[in-house]
Symmetry: C2
Subunit: 202 residues, 2 copies
Amino acid sequence: MVGLRERKKEQTRRRIAAVALALFAERGYDAVTVNEVAAAAEVAKATLFSYFPSKEALVLHGIGEDDLAGIVTRRPPGTTPLAALRAHFRTFAAGQDPGPFDAPALIGQVRIVFDSPALSAAAHTLLHREREALTGALTPDAPGLLAALMAAQITAAVTTLKEAFFRRLLAGESPAAAAAALAADVETAFDLLEHGFSGAGR
Amino acid sequence: MVGLRERKKEQTRRRIAAVALALFAERGYDAVTVNEVAAAAEVAKATLFSYFPSKEALVLHGIGEDDLAGIVTRRPPGTTPLAALRAHFRTFAAGQDPGPFDAPALIGQVRIVFDSPALSAAAHTLLHREREALTGALTPDAPGLLAALMAAQITAAVTTLKEAFFRRLLAGESPAAAAAALAADVETAFDLLEHGFSGAGR
DNA sequence: GTTCAATTCTGCACCAGGTCTGGTTATTCT
DNA sequence: AGAATAACCAGACCTGGTGCAGAATTGAAC
């Protein structure tokens, strides 16, 4: 049973996020204060911070959630972690299972992030947490430092892939074209992970 | 000619950093305000911020400066970037060329960083900048995305190595023992980079 | 339909990191 | 010595974020 209370909460949350993104897109992240966002969304500042833990979270709420660790732990038996991850990004690049991928809204969000150093740094921190989770997921398959190294390299590669993808979108490429380029990049990245630099260009 | 003015400046800068590190080590980074640091160092807050751009910089001023990009661009002709980097970390682990490596002071600094999530995140951001520089240094040798991928993987591996090394120091291992362990880890990490996951455990 | 408890929201004071300003002191140059 | 310049200081001010007392809203019991 979803009561009126919860519906209103969800509504308020959405309103705050939407108002914030609109303001940030219009005038830039740093030039908008949380007081303004709260006023525009018609809530008190304390209420805003009860919905979102920080100003950054207003932009980063649904970004960069790949759950790499989950993909590894839930992979079909008999496959390597790397193969499972490669398959995941292949399907994503093929346009299948794009998750909650609302192109125009996402592009706006990503543009805000790219334009603000503070937000880029915050996004980076989120990835750091994912790296730790991935290390845990890899530990059964690789001893000690190796799991940490692999996790670090995988998240590094994935970040690079996503940055390249987003950069294309921001440059105006169509989602289809960007996805096609991503498909090729995925193979490059995972080949590099799998066979190392000695097998790559130079 | 190094005048009195510059000597005093350098002296003030050192005093601020030393006082800050002492306070942070004693009571924890988050529990000390910059006002307290300024008061203890007998300068005005504005003066403190003219020497250090942020509170974080008080701790991170001489940390994590590997200049990976420089190592790559200045490598002897005929060697690959990866070989140059491996050689660099080998010599470091062998205790040669430890740079400004004052163990007790550094350990104190590192402990403060490890203890504070805010500082860890900030340290991460610094590494991100180094990654961009490294991408530039690799671009002549690898086309487009490959340079970015390599740079990301290298910095990821180096970060992991340094974290493991510092963790040993913080756990009480002697610098010599930690360096020996690091020497082995360096080979593991660079073998992984060179030959990929397919050549590693599993 | 009224009452009552639990949530939620508000308004406001407050804290900490950082920036800005105007005026004061110390160093350097002539 | 005196003028120019650099550093410093005290303090006001802004912004992100938290804490708190009380008002408003919801859900449920009667």
